[in-house]
């Protein structure tokens, strides 16, 4: 009884939220797992057949490959560029507020508000090609060629740069000036101090940045969808597109199996990162 009483306030405070999470997420997701083993039509048991269908689906393979490639390229690129800018801001600029505001601004602009610009910029008759043409460089149909993928990378970095810079800056300012001072006395150059002191101290921030940037990388679908619609060029056909298209066709069996696969992959990634994170202690 006393044991129960001890927990009572905590449970009462948590309950509304947990109940909501349970009803809107956990319970229906359990249903999705169940459905991933059933047919869509008469809900009879088919074992792993849906999973096999999904893995053999050409569109799924294309989308999964593109998504992996997208994450593998945009994450390191974003992390490197933002670290470079944050480091320059931290070392060379006294008042960083103006720059923080400027780099964070894209985060506030609703995707739909800038779609018009992306369309005008990357159209085959668009602004970017107008510039290229004026320099006599061969123009490219950006959204209907393999470059569409890279357009998406640029848009992603534009949107997430500020967020990541703020994180790096927080990490940088938590490094004590004394350590640098001591290293300087020992005759360490700036480059050496960056490698030996700055980078190792930033490792915990790196984990968070990786996780959050990964999470945000899925939101690039907004831009992709609003600029190029349901069926964009093959190079930028992502998992988000295929889920959207399955949803429209109400392909419940494929969606269920696909959702479980993606959830498991993300779960494994989170646990791996968590482990690496714990090791840092």
């Amino acid at each position: 009884m006393t044991q129960k009483k001890k927990y009572l306030p905590g449970i009462a405070f948590l309950l509304p939220s947990f109940l909501g999470v349970f009803i809107f997420v956990l319970l229906p997701f359990a249903d999705v797992v169940r459905r991933s083993f059933l047919t869509a039509v008469d809900e009879s048991w088919v074992g792993f057949k849906n999973y096999i269908t999904v893995f053999n689906n050409a569109a799924f393979k294309l989308a999964a490959g593109n998504t992996v490639r997208f994450v593998a390229i945009c994450l390191p690129l974003l992390i490197f560029i933002s670290l470079l800018i944050a480091y320059l801001l931290y070392k060379k600029i006294k008042n960083t507020q103006f720059f923080k505001t400027a780099f964070l601004l894209p985060m506030a602009i609703p995707t739909a508000s800038v779609v018009l610009l992306w369309k005008v910029l990357f159209n085959s008759k668009g602004l970017l090609n107008a510039v290229l043409n004026s320099f006599n460089i061969e123009t490219v149909d950006w959204m209907n060629s393999k470059y569409a993928f890279w357009v998406l990378i640029v848009v992603y970095i534009w949107k997430n740069l500020g967020y990541t810079i703020v994180l790096w800056l927080a990490g940088l300012s938590s490094i004590s000036e004394d350590i640098y001072e001591a290293a300087r006395v020992d005759g360490a150059g700036e480059w050496k101090m960056f490698w030996r002191i700055t980078l190792p101290s930033l490792m915990p921030v790196l984990y968070t940045i990786t996780v959050l940037s990964f999470l945000n990388s899925f939101k690039v679908f907004r831009e992709a969808y609003l600029v190029a619609g349901d069926y964009p060029h093959d190079s930028m056909y992502l998992l988000q597109h295929i889920f959207n298209n399955w949803f429209r066709d109400l392909a419940v069996d494929k969606m269920a199996a696909g959702a479980v696969v993606v959830a498991v992959v993300i779960l494994v990634l989170i646990l791996m990162l968590q482990k690496a994170w714990d090791k840092e202690d």
């Binding site: 320059l88 703020v166 679908f221 609003l226």
Partner: protein, 279 residues
């Protein structure tokens, strides 16, 4: 690199990053005819390329007037957005603040496991929960209503996670002192926890506002009736031929987000940083 050179480099980069904003803003003051003339190669697919002026030849407020006085459908979308975001934020506060407090400061069975579940759910992209959302909304007969967007978002675990970070840093001594003075759990939460964690709550609200003002995936999936759409989805449906109007609508859709961003930038940064600290 010298200090001056670095400054110039970063300044040019910042300008480049802000260019989209300037582009839309200038477009919104351009007459429809002027914008159309610049964008003609894109609309007709004819010869030549699009060009653009950063200062309109003949600046005009015509589209603002048209939009504000003569576009009832724009207003109803604007209202939809406000209603959806307002309800989501209110719900997130009602359910999320006490939950974050419980996870940070109260005794709970399986606390670690529950918190881990919250973190994992926060990481799942919409595509993973899309079907499960659909199934439960269908069961509750909520599809094609605003509740279909609002309810799942209310129970998003991200704000709980952010607020938890701030509540953890409330010193236990103050809570003990309040208890000794005879404050119950609710009083301690309301008069100690909420005020001391207020910057966390504001951070979570700002991050949520920017996220939900920008909703695309959920209304696209769960709202069939176009008159229920939020502004974010409606905007993208204005065709390029009406570019003058589209620019102005884009700017007006951006204004609430810009105000929230500018007035809350400190909290926004705090919230971003809080997500990086180890708990």
């Amino acid at each position: 690199m010298g200090r001056k050179l670095t400054y110039i480099f970063l300044f040019l980069l910042a300008l480049l990053v802000c260019y989209p904003f300037v582009f839309i803003l200038t477009g919104s003051f351009m007459s429809g005819a002027e914008a159309k003339a610049y964008l003609l190669p894109m609309i007709t697919g004819g010869d030549g390329y699009v060009n653009w002026r950063l200062i309109p030849m003949m600046p005009t407020l015509k589209h603002y007037v048209e939009l504000l006085l003569d576009s009832p459908e724009f207003f109803s979308m604007f209202w939809n957005s406000f209603k959806i975001v307002g309800c989501i934020l209110a719900g997130q506060l009602l359910a999320g603040v006490p939950a974050a407090w419980a996870l940070a400061k109260l005794k709970l069975p399986f606390k670690k496991l529950i918190f881990m579940i919250y973190i994992i759910l926060m990481m799942m992209p919409f595509q993973v929960t899309m079907l499960s959302n659909y199934l439960v909304l269908d069961q509750l007969k909520l599809l094609d209503t605003h509740a279909a967007i609002i309810l799942p978002a209310v129970f998003s675990t991200f704000p709980v996670f952010i607020m938890h970070r701030f509540f953890v840093s409330v010193p236990d001594g103050i809570i003990e002192a309040a208890k000794i003075d005879g404050a119950g759990d609710i009083m301690t939460f309301l008069y100690v926890g909420v005020p001391l964690g207020s910057s966390g709550i504001i951070s979570a609200v700002i991050l949520s506002f920017l996220e939900y003002w920008n909703l695309i995936e959920q209304p696209l999936a769960f709202l069939k009736t176009k008159s229920l759409w939020p502004l974010s989805l409606y905007l993208s449906n204005i065709s390029i031929e009406r570019s003058g109007f589209a620019f102005t609508a884009s700017v007006i859709a951006f204004i609430p987000a810009l105000l929230v961003f500018l007035s809350g930038q400190d909290y926004l940064e705090k919230g971003i940083v809080a997500s990086a600290l180890k708990g």
